[in-house]
């Protein structure tokens, strides 16, 4: 047993209280939230904190090392890296969170449905899941990005199409386990409709695992966006984005290494904070 607090209406409140108690005591979760919070605030306040206009070019002042005027130096076109980093944070966080939403919802729905109803529906969804997993990831993503054009839309569509699989699997396993439990039979016997059982009883129990997975998926999307930037298929210029900043700086990686390294560190920092949040939540919910 995974130790999920299977909550019926009566003990939901108790389960929540336990969750918050554990949450408050979890150093991982707290640290993660603080780190993530700092990141979100810094990005949101980018227009205020930034020292320069991220698009302001200076063709003669390119590739300058960090200095008082340019805290992290300038890129090839003389734009201030520090300011671009902040605005890139906005872009990347926004895209990663938004792109993670659709697959999150789709995956949970499909997982619940296939776990609960079973039968041929389960079989079909299961085969689709297997097909998506067997599909070479890059073929889908690159083809979609080529078809739709590089930039945000392509990324949203690509992840909407393939990203739901992880949630579906995880949710389905839990749903199947719960489906045959006594209290579900009782609920159905008491006249509750399928929809009611799924939404009010099963969903709250699968959400913890799904949310923990969501944190990993957001990081994965961010890493994928950065990698697409490296392949030349990332966010359209001139929108600052950590991925294109890394790839633009790659030519200079031996001489002016900070141009590629610093955005990379930003991505790692984001990854760490999201990981900590995910781990912390997992601990609090006692999810594996």
């Amino acid at each position: 047993m995974s130790g999920l607090p299977i909550a019926t209406d009566g003990s939901a409140r108790i389960a929540r209280q336990t969750f918050f108690t554990r949450a408050r005591r979890s150093p991982t979760l707290i640290l993660g939230i603080i780190m993530l919070g700092l990141l979100v605030v810094a990005s949101a306040l980018a227009p205020i904190i930034a020292t320069h206009d991220p698009a302001a070019q200076s063709l003669t002042g390119g590739l300058l090392p960090p200095s008082f005027e340019h805290l992290l130096g300038t890129d090839q076109l003389g734009r201030d890296i520090f300011s671009r980093m902040l605005f890139a944070g906005q872009t990347d966080l926004r895209i990663a969170f938004l792109a993670a939403l659709t697959p999150f919802v789709t995956g949970i729905v499909l997982g619940l449905v296939s776990g609960y109803f079973g039968g041929w529906l389960d079989y079909v969804i299961g085969r689709i899941v297997d097909t998506v997993i067997a599909f070479p990831f890059y073929v889908i993503v690159i083809s979609i990005v080529f078809a739709v054009g590089a930039g945000e839309t392509g990324i949203f569509v690509a992840f909407a199409l393939v990203g739901w699989v992880g949630y579906a699997r995880v949710v389905r396993v839990t749903t199947t386990a719960m489906k045959s439990s006594a209290w579900v039979a009782a609920a159905r016997g008491g006249g509750l409709s399928h929809a009611r059982v799924i939404l009010r009883h099963l969903l709250p129990n699968v959400l913890p695992q799904a949310v923990v997975l969501l944190m990993s998926e957001i990081i994965a999307i961010m890493v994928a966006v950065v990698t697409l930037g490296y392949l030349g298929l990332g966010i359209q210029p001139p929108t600052p984005d950590w991925g294109t900043m890394i790839s633009d700086g790659q030519t200079f990686v031996t001489t002016k290494w900070w141009i590629s390294t610093i955005p990379g560190l930003a991505v790692i920092y984001t990854g760490i904070s999201l990981s900590l949040v995910g781990d912390g939540l997992g601990d609090a919910w006692r999810v594996k």
Partner: protein, 524 residues
């Protein structure tokens, strides 16, 4: 981005365009391309040069190929009648000398005596006739445009070609790689067999060939230039990533690379174990305006854009001083270039705003700038253009799409304006002008739909006028008109940049970016 050259891309470009950059010589006259210490070192025999390239060789059928990845393997195996040097000047190839009749219709070529193919059979005029006729029959992508009425082997060592009408660029076209000579009747093999294992007069012979990987050559023991090539073997190694090219050279895993990102030139030059060569090429980096677009059909708008671009600034920021600013369509490495004639519209924001004010859109407008993705240099250029045009009220949205889609779009004329490069295959200006200013040509003036009857007339005259001051005037006039009409704005002429281990000497880089290895040798 893995590579920083203008072709920067991780994509294995099965079809890399021949980057014939228009004049980029850094000194006033084209600098000699060889990095050798003159006269102080004697060539040593032996050794293998391993050249890292980003694309593999997929075909050796010289008459049917156009892209650099194949052309520069083909030109090691086959040679044409006429050759050219690193300054683009025509020199004897398989033909020792040639004569042109007074009326410009009859060309007589005298073959160098005693030339053998790599299988030791002698080269005769019959082989030349067969090769050129086959080229005409297959209607390949780098054709002979002259209207040829006959090609005859007047004797074993003389070939006479008669044209139906005078065509001055004829000799330049003969010098292109696609007119290499091979044995008559493919030496008894079928066409398909022959091109799997080709026989030519060139300095190298194919040893092992993986169309999706490396190709290795060994030296042609029967090569007609005494004692050459000095090296025993030549390998073209497939390394699709530009950063890897650089790193493998610097680590000594290979001893030559076919391209160097402009941004890495300084770093490489400072490395004592590496020699970097920069030479002028036949490529012109340009901003192409679709003259059928509602805004760009107005010449005032186009002139406004030309005035708004700081071409020197762009060149400096994106090519790190390795390219030469372009002031005309025709680069200094090609005949009759007007690069120093001052025709180009200069960088002047006031003039730009004034020109825009004269147009139907004095308050500016919004357009989309299309570039192929995977090319970091172009992405930087596009962003500079975007900022520059914002200064005069034109809002530019950059559309960076993958190469295949990019080509589909602009071939369908579905674009506002784009950054791309034009190139020439020969030192004659006719090639570039025809491709870029002929509305009847298949590209319809490089997809800009530019039509100017005066230019068309001059272009036709240029083809039949003999070389000399009259012909020069024609091409200068054309360039002046183009500079004022600006259907495209030449930005810079990229250099052909190669790098080798400092133990490799004697490489000759041609303006079409091919490397000649006949004189190459390795310090043991």
């Amino acid at each position: 981005m893995p590579r920083s050259s203008r072709l920067r891309s991780r994509v294995i470009r099965g079809a890399v365009p021949i980057a014939l950059v228009a004049a980029l010589a850094l000194s006033a006259c084209a600098a000699p391309a060889t990095p050798t210490d003159p006269a102080t070192s004697e060539p040593q025999s032996g050794g293998t040069i391993t050249l890292g390239r980003v694309a593999s060789v997929t075909s050796l059928d010289l008459n049917n190929e156009i892209t650099a990845n194949n052309a520069f393997a083909i030109d090691k195996i086959f040679e044409p009648l006429i050759s050219f040097d690193s300054d683009g000047v025509l020199t004897p190839g398989l033909a020792d000398s040639w004569e042109v009749s007074e009326d410009g219709l009859v060309y007589t070529f005298a073959l160098h005596p005693g030339v053998l193919f790599s299988d030791a059979t002698p080269l005769t005029a019959k082989d030349v006739v067969f090769s050129l006729e086959r080229h005409i029959a297959v209607e390949g992508p780098v054709p002979l445009h002259a209207s040829i009425s006959s090609i005859e082997a007047t004797d074993d060592e003389t070939v006479t070609i008669t044209l139906a009408e005078a065509y001055t660029p004829f000799l330049s076209e003969i010098a292109q790689f696609s007119n290499g000579i091979f044995p008559a009747d493919f030496g008894g093999k079928t066409e398909e067999e022959f091109f799997k294992n080709p026989i030519g007069t060139g300095p190298f012979v194919v040893d092992k060939w993986d169309p999706a990987g490396d190709i290795s050559f060994v030296k042609n023991e029967n090569y007609w230039q005494e004692g050459k090539p000095y090296i025993d073997a030549l390998v073209y190694k497939l390394i699709p990533d530009g950063t890897q090219l650089l790193q493998q050279l610097q680590a000594g895993q290979i001893n030559a690379i076919d391209e160097v990102a402009e941004a890495n030139v300084e770093e490489l030059s400072n490395n004592a174990d590496v020699t970097v060569t920069k030479t002028g090429s036949w490529v012109v980096e340009q901003l192409f305006l679709n003259t059928q677009n509602e805004y760009f059909s107005d010449v005032n708008v186009r002139q406004a854009i030309a005035h708004a671009l700081d071409r020197e600034g762009i060149t400096a920021a994106t090519t790190f001083g390795t390219a030469e600013v372009a002031n005309s369509l025709i680069p200094p490495t090609i005949q009759y270039s007007a690069n120093d004639s001052g025709f180009a519209l200069d960088y002047d924001l006031d003039a730009a705003k004034a020109a825009l004010a004269k147009s139907a859109y004095p308050n500016g407008f919004s357009v989309s700038l299309m570039i192929a993705s995977g090319n970091s240099l172009r992405a930087q250029e596009a962003q500079i253009v975007q900022e520059a045009l914002a200064e005069i009220g034109i809002t530019v949205n950059i559309e960076s799409i993958d190469l295949a889609t990019f080509r589909t779009r602009f071939f369908a004329y579905d674009f506002d304006f784009m950054i791309n490069s034009g190139q020439s295959d020969s030192p004659d200006p006719n090639g570039l002008i025809s491709f870029q200013a002929d509305p009847e040509g298949f590209s319809q003036s490089y997809w800009t739909h530019y039509t100017n009857d005066k230019v068309t007339e001059l272009m036709k005259q240029g083809r039949v006028t003999l070389d000399g001051p009259d012909r020069e005037k024609i091409y200068l006039d054309i360039q002046e008109i183009l500079a004022n009409d600006v259907p495209y704005i030449p930005i810079f002429y990229p250099s052909a940049i190669k790098a080798t281990s400092s133990k490799v000497h004697g490489l000759v880089v041609l303006p079409n970016e091919s490397i000649r290895f006949q004189d190459a040798w390795i310090e043991q």
